[in-house]
């Protein structure tokens, strides 16, 4: 019964003091004086506004990446009790007392610190010596650029952490694969790989590169598994399914869940509403929902509506008209119809109201019961304030001479009859008898006489058109483009027969009651699409750089500058580490090619085991560097030095790999080995020295004098701020 008492209870703990020491050093190194400076540093101004919006639960769209990273930063703010009240408008602005700087910066700093033991562990799992692993960790520890980036409210260190975690867990999993597949540990590491990958992708889309690399490596390993004929077909299938589940299904589910949380947390309307479709806006609290709440759903003859262009580019706008006419002659001498202008106007205005009229009847009010407009019906659109009819004819549009001009018809009693019949085509209809619905239906207006389609050209009119956007009739409708689609945003049933009453009615706010709930997937798809396609006007930034500058670190970024003391923080790397990493990459590639060609001729310079190790470690490190670096050459967005940091991390991991290979296989006798070790010691000390030298620029203190700053300008292209007195 009490047999267990006969045996002593033994708890054996194995603690790798190396790991502990590295973690502690990392924490000290990254967390030291974390809340200094108490001022907005560089991109904190950018991420900070999102943290504030999270705190206030206000919806936003950020085209720089998926929401997980922002959410993590906001979580820090939540823990610190941040209320979101801070105006993020200027780099260098002092934080007010309510901003918990320390906890906002804590998470990036923690993840940055944990990268140090992760690097150690990765090399150990790659079967390198503890000495090499320790070296790798130290290099990460003393890398100034990584330190700067992790000590601020920025996302790169979080990204690097998840990337390294994914790599490490895959290696752990792969090492377990040989001895004990399908055990708890095996599952744990496999699933952790998938989770870490999705977190990396969720923080920044850059994580996708590493995810692809891991998938490729996993694919290669699975291929070997398929070729392993000792396994039965069923067990091979199980292996493949497990990998598919953990590396594809789990990440996708996680990714969706980030958006789910994002959309659940942010339920209030906010500054970016206008980018989204009316249906999406209506699902947010406040904003459009407040206006559209209780609108009638079905558009009927006599409805008063505002029409919003579905594309929303260059700015979201509504179909608009006003008293002014097109000039008789344009600047370039072409003539116009001189009829009333029709434009697209990016602000809410009483002139955006149009009335749907049945061509066969005179009345402008909704009959009882309302007669809904269906797909294929022919309508006239009457401008509410001026009661003129939307019209198009064979006159060239002001800025797009190949298309027809759209006007509100004025009868000048010349031989130019009104052509104001439009066919309503609901593009997203389910059946051909669908009713035109408020907000939900995307409608194309096809002109009956000329089959021109009402379209937003994207050009803005000159002074005479008040710089509003041009509306044209596209004669050759080339396929479907969102610029030809319109949806009803505000809507009410018109009641007033007389023009005067109607004007009063148009000015009054709409009232009534319906609610539109979009499903999560619909909202996710729309938000994801907007994130991917939203294009900010990308102009060159003062500190932007080209990928070629990164390898040699020809550029730096001034993050922060104290206006009085002159203390400053720069993103500037440990130049010695960068140089060594480049050399290591070069040596690796040359040696690899040399071995490869000679092995093809059946000459083996190194034993099979060493070769396999060399290939796997190098494939991971050089591959990681390449996938995180080369794609930038094809990107057209504004690039900064910090985009290189993930690639750099992989490159740093390569240094000890190459060094150990050199000592093991190329230094055959004792003497060169000793010399090599001595060199190593000297090299590590100089790396530490460089780190110390540049640490004032990394931590922002102590303040340096102008002469000291000048002496730190090791490269002419570095932009170190030296004040002139």
């Amino acid at each position: 019964m009490l047999g267990f008492l006969k045996q002593p209870v033994v708890v054996t703990a194995e603690i790798n003091m190396n790991l502990v020491a590295l973690t502690v050093m990392g924490l000290v190194n990254r967390l030291w004086a974390l809340s200094y400076p108490r001022a907005v540093v560089f991109d904190e101004v950018y991420y900070g506004q999102f943290v504030s919006l999270y705190m206030k639960r206000i919806f936003f769209v950020d085209d720089s990446g998926p929401p997980f990273g922002h959410m993590l930063l906001a979580f820090g703010g939540y823990l610190g009790g941040f209320d979101g009240n801070f105006l993020w408008n200027r780099i260098g602005a002092e934080y007010s007392m309510n901003v918990p700087v320390w906890s906002l910066r804590l998470l990036p700093a923690l993840t940055g610190a944990l990268c140090v033991p992760l690097a150690y562990q990765i090399l150990v799992e790659l079967h390198f010596s503890h000495c090499a692993a320790f070296g790798a960790a130290l290099l990460i520890l003393f890398e100034n650029s990584l330190i700067t980036q992790s000590r601020l409210m920025l996302l790169e260190s979080v990204l690097i952490f998840f990337i390294l975690l994914a790599i490490l867990s895959y290696l752990k999993f792969y090492n377990l694969q040989k001895c004990s597949p399908f055990t708890a540990g095996w599952w744990f590491w496999l699933l952790l790989t998938g989770v870490a990958c999705s977190c990396a992708v969720g923080v920044k889309y850059m994580g996708l590169f590493t995810y692809m690399l891991l998938l490729a490596i996993a694919g290669g390993h699975s291929w070997h598994l398929i070729g392993d004929q000792t396994l039965s077909n069923v067990s091979v299938l199980c292996h493949l399914l497990a990998r598919g589940l953990a590396l594809v299904v789990v990440p996708v589910a996680m990714y969706l869940s980030f958006f789910y949380v994002h959309l659940t947390v942010l339920y209030r309307s906010g500054p970016h509403d206008q980018i989204m479709t009316s249906a999406f806006q209506a699902s947010l609290e406040g904003g459009l929902a407040r206006i559209t709440q209780g609108q009638p759903l079905e558009v009927a003859y006599g409805s008063q509506i505002t029409l919003r262009n579905v594309l929303g580019k260059p700015v979201p706008c509504w179909l608009h008209s006003h008293k002014n006419t097109y000039p008789i002659r344009y600047e370039n001498g072409r003539g116009s119809s001189h009829q009333q202008q029709v434009t697209c106007y990016p602000f809410k205005d009483v002139n955006n109201w149009w009335i749907v009229k049945d061509p066969g009847m005179q009345q402008l009010v909704v009959s009882n019961p309302p007669r809904p407009v269906r797909h294929g019906h022919i309508v006239q659109l009457v401008h509410g304030i001026t009661t003129r009819y939307l019209n198009t004819h064979d006159v060239a549009a002001p800025l797009s001479p190949h298309s027809q001009e759209i006007s509100c018809y004025i009868d000048y009693n010349i031989s130019m009859p009104a052509q104001n019949l439009w066919r309503v085509e609901i593009v997203n209809r389910e059946s051909d008898t669908d009713v035109w619905k408020t907000i939900l239906s995307e409608v194309r207006f096809v002109h009956v006489n000329t089959s021109a389609v009402l379209k937003l050209s994207g050009a803005s009119l000159p002074e005479w058109g008040y710089r509003q956007l041009e509306i044209i009739g596209e004669k050759l409708s080339k396929g479907h483009h969102q610029s030809m689609l319109w949806n009803v945003e505000e809507h009410r049933y018109g009641k007033s027969q007389e023009q005067k009453e109607r004007e009063v009615e148009l000015h009054s706010p709409t009232q009534a009651d319906i609610s539109k709930n979009l499903s999560f997937m619909a909202r996710f798809t729309e938000l994801q699409w907007k994130i991917l396609t939203l294009k900010n006007e990308d102009t060159e930034h003062k500190y932007s750089s080209s990928p070629l500058d990164w390898i040699t670190m020809d550029t730096n970024i001034a993050y922060w500058f104290h206006p009085i003391s002159g203390a400053q923080i720069h993103l500037i790397g440990n130049i010695l580490t960068w140089a060594s990493a480049n050399v290591a990459t070069l040596v690796y590639v040359c040696l690899f090619l040399w071995y490869l060609l000679r092995r093809r001729r059946k000459i083996c310079d190194i034993p099979e085991d060493a070769w396999r190790l060399w290939v796997s470690a190098g494939g991971l490190c050089v591959g990681g560097w390449a996938v995180n670096y080369l794609p930038f050459f094809m990107m057209e967005k504004t690039l900064f030095l910090y985009h290189y940091l993930p690639a750099l991390t992989f490159q740093i991991l390569l240094i000890p790999v190459v060094l150990q290979h050199l000592t093991d296989h190329l230094c055959r006798s004792q003497l060169p080995k000793n010399m090599f070790s001595a060199l190593m010691v000297a090299w590590f000390s100089s790396i530490y020295l460089v780190y110390r030298t540049f640490s004032p620029l990394t931590y922002g203190e102590p303040t340096l004098s102008a002469a000291e700053l000048r002496s730190l300008r090791w490269k002419d292209s570095w932009d170190i701020l030296i004040r002139k007195h």
Binding site: I226, G227, P314, G458, K478
Partner: protein, 799 residues
């Protein structure tokens, strides 16, 4: 006769190497084929024989038969590395279900008939419509430029247009038709020569595809299927019938693939005459492909990858010495790198030699370049030699494809620096490029006859006044519009009265102070006096408000780059005598480099505009939308570039099918499944030959997803050629697989009927859709009376 002798000799050789389908069907000579078929009739299993002996005796036989030198190397295609010496050759396979289909048919007869069909389909109604269609307006015009020897600028390399020009010249077209816009009637001008030339090259694609597929799959029916797809594709027909670059590009592209495949087949006899012939022909075709359009780079990549793989195999063959390997490497470097480079350069040499008259493209090039052109104001120029105050000048930026310093009556928009007059760099010659040199501190009119001439000297402080608007060239510490690190440059002041920010120091590179400044030859640097920055052109294109001209900035980083250097091009000063200047003529490499820079800039400038409906790469394989070549209204003669939908959707399905089949096969092999000899051969064809074609398709399709420029539907056609060949190979293999699984007679029937059904389907769909290419008149397809009624299967098709 020789023919007889060989047909006697060959059975001997082939009997040593029993009928593996790879070994025999390759022979492009009908005699070999027939002789072998005769052998096949017997199907006698032959004793195994060591490889060494068999190759030796084969050589002996070849020597004895005295093969004529020429592109011939079928017979034996076994590459050595794949079959190590000493391994016995395979025993003859059992009779096959599909063999009888191929047996009685030769190779040349089908080739001749498909060639005939191909020519017939391309030349039918070639002269219709007798007006300019679509891009004929560009390429016809450029052909005319060659005939008139007028210099022009285009984003594509010159070979295609040169050939069009040559065809026009030979067929009696005199280059006088203006090709102004699509729809212009040709009238009495002879355009058939140029269209006929393009149609001729377009017709050659079919036999090329036939030969490639035959060579790769050894299956006549696969080759016929691929050929008939191309013959009966309305898209290929339409694209071949007009004066366009695409037929020329595709001709060279397929030529390159064909010769690559052929020289791979010659691998058993390296350094033989046919081997050299095909290898160098590959190089020639590569030069042709890349000389027509830069898209030709993709086929260079394909050939490159194939060559790397080839060399890798050779490297693994330990029986080859390093010296032999070196020879192999050098041969490829010579034929596939050096030869194309030389030919490519030669095209440009001809281009520059032919176009020696000034024309519309002058402004894109540097002053030195322009001086070569007869009729340009810089040709045998005579201007005042030294700059003087009061001179009216134009300044040209020295960077490649740099523009003239330009200003106009438009201000920088709000939010972009100070709201002052724009200063840009402009590539065309224009009155707004004129500037007047003035002294910085006085506003006297130097052209007043009472003043004496005063020359501008190195190191002087000057003011540059824009002639049309009388504003001074000005800079200040505002950010430049695009390059935020630089300062903005504006036009400032009224009637020449500005402020101290209008002062610039003029310096000549490599000159001491006090020397005069020469027109054209001096490289000038303008330093802003107040901020110390240097006037330069960043090369970035301004947005719409700047009329998409090039940005001009003042750079605070003092670097010696051509961006910041200028030369004076035009120089007007009535008080100075004109002197004839012999401008330094640029050397050929300089011209070559410059024209490439200009082309690359032009290409990257073709960006789609906001809200413009453009064709997306994913539209293409599904035949989502075509291109209107001619005609809009009901009464017009309408031609619409659209692939035959049945063919294209078959191609699309086949790509999926191929991936599925390839995956299954490769996994089965990896799992160690025991395949019969027959299936092994099939999978070899599927993976190896199909893989090559698949790679070609990928290389010609995927890169378009990453291109920022405007894309059109017709960009897909090179990829479509590969896709069609893949269809031929895949269906043939699939049917053979099916047939192999069934009993002999049943399998034979499945195979025959399957192939027949596919071909009939293609022919019938062509019958339905042929008006797309050969012209539609009358009501649109939406009208039930139209010949195309009911055929508008997708709403996005516009016919």
């Amino acid at each position: 006769t020789l023919r007889r002798v060989r047909s006697v000799a060959f059975p001997t050789c082939l009997s040593l190497h029993p009928a593996t389908s790879r070994g025999d069907a390759l022979a492009p000579g009908a005699e070999n084929y027939n002789s072998h078929d005769a052998l096949r009739g017997n199907q006698t299993p032959l004793p195994a024989m060591p490889y060494g002996a068999d190759s030796l005796s084969l050589d002996a036989v070849r020597g004895g038969a005295r093969l004529p030198s020429g592109p011939r190397c079928g017979g034996l295609r076994q590459r050595r590395p794949r079959r190590p010496a000493g391994e016995p050759s395979r025993p003859s396979p059992p009779p096959r279900a599909w063999a009888p289909l191929e047996a009685p048919v030769g190779v040349w007869a089908p080739l001749a008939s498909i060639t005939l069909l191909s020519f017939a389909s391309r030349f039918y109604r070639l002269c219709e419509p007798p007006h300019v269609c679509w891009d004929e307006t560009h390429f016809g015009k450029m052909g005319s430029y060659y005939i008139n020897r007028t210099f022009f600028f285009d984003v594509h390399p010159p070979l295609g247009k040169m050939l069009i020009g040559l065809a026009g010249y030979l067929s009696g077209y005199n280059g006088t038709f203006p090709f102004q816009k699509p729809g212009d009637r040709y009238g009495h001008h002879n355009y058939i020569g140029m269209r006929g030339f393009c149609a001729f090259l377009g017709s050659c694609l079919v036999p090329f595809a036939y030969l490639i597929v035959l060579e790769l799959s050894k299956s006549l029916s696969a080759a016929l299927l691929a050929a008939s797809i191309l013959i009966f594709d309305t898209g290929c027909i339409t694209l071949s019938q007009y004066i366009l670059l695409d037929p020329i590009l595709m001709f060279f592209l397929m030529g390159a693939v064909l010769s690559m495949v052929k020289y791979n087949s010659c691998a058993v006899r390296p350094f033989s005459a046919p081997w050299w012939f095909w290898l160098s022909l590959t190089g020639v075709n590569l030069a042709g492909a890349i000389g027509v359009k830069f898209v030709g780079l993709f086929v260079v990549l394909l050939v490159g990858l194939n060559t790397v793989y080839d060399l890798w195999e050779l490297l693994g063959d330990l029986s080859l010495s390093l010296v032999t390997l070196g020879k192999h490497l050098l041969a490829r470097v010579f034929c596939l790198i050096l030869l194309p480079l030389v030919l490519y350069t030669a095209q440009f040499a001809v281009h520059f030699a032919v176009l020696n008259k000034s024309g519309p493209g002058d402004g894109f090039f540097s002053s030195a370049f322009q001086s070569r052109l007869i009729g340009n104001n810089l040709h045998n120029v005579s201007v005042p030699e030294h700059l003087a105050y009061g001179s009216v000048i134009t300044m040209k930026n020295l960077r490649m494809a740099g523009g003239y310093l330009h200003s106009h009556w438009h201000l920088y928009p709000e939010g972009v620096g100070a709201r002052q007059q724009q200063v840009t760099a402009y590539l065309h010659k224009d009155l707004n490029n004129l500037w007047v040199i003035k002294k910085h501190d006085s506003n006297t009119d130097h052209l007043d006859p009472s003043c004496s001439v005063e020359f501008v000297r190195h190191g002087d402080v000057i003011r540059l006044e824009h002639k049309e608007t009388s504003r001074n060239l000005h800079s200040h510490q505002h950010e430049a519009p695009m390059t935020r690190k630089h300062f903005q440059v504006t036009g400032y002041g009224i009637n020449g009265t500005g402020d101290a920010n209008d002062f610039w120091r003029i310096e000549v590179v490599g000159r001491k102070s006090g020397k005069r400044i020469k027109v054209l030859r001096s490289q000038i640097r303008l330093t802003h006096l107040a901020t110390g920055c240097i006037l330069g052109s960043s090369g970035k294109t301004l947005p719409k408000w700047g009329w998409e001209q090039v940005e001009v900035t003042c750079t605070p980083y003092v670097k010696e780059t051509p961006n910041a250097l200028w030369n004076v091009e035009d120089h007007i000063n009535p008080k100075l005598p004109n002197i004839s200047l012999d401008v330094l003529k640029p050397s050929f490499p300089e011209i070559l480099l410059e024209s490439h820079m200009v082309m690359i800039r032009g290409n990257s400038g073709l960006k789609p505009k906001e809200n413009e409906v453009t064709s997306k790469p994913w539209h293409w394989p599904i035949n989502y939308q075509g291109l209107r070549f001619s005609g809009v209204n009901e009464t017009d003669y309408r031609v619409y570039l659209l692939g035959n939908p049945v063919v294209w959707w078959l191609n699309l399905v086949t790509i999926g099918l191929y991936l599925l089949m390839a995956t299954c096969t490769i996994v089965a092999i990896k799992r160690g499944a025991q395949l019969t000899v027959e299936f092994k051969e099939l999978s070899e064809v599927l993976l190896h030959s199909g893989g090559k074609i698949m790679l070609g398709w990928l290389l010609h399709y995927l890169p378009f997803f990453m291109m920022g420029r405007v894309l059109y539907f017709h960009h897909y056609f090179p990829a479509m050629l590969f896709s069609s060949m893949l269809t031929g190979i895949t269906w043939d293999t699939l049917l053979k697989f099916c047939a192999g699984c069934l009993s002999c007679s049943m399998g034979k029937r499945v195979y025959t009927y399957g192939m027949l059904a596919l071909m009939l389907l293609i022919v019938y769909s062509f019958y339905l859709f042929h008006p797309l290419s050969y012209g539609m008149v009358g009501p649109m397809a939406s009208d039930p009376n139209s010949p195309m009624a009911g055929l508008r299967w997708l709403e996005s098709w516009e016919f």
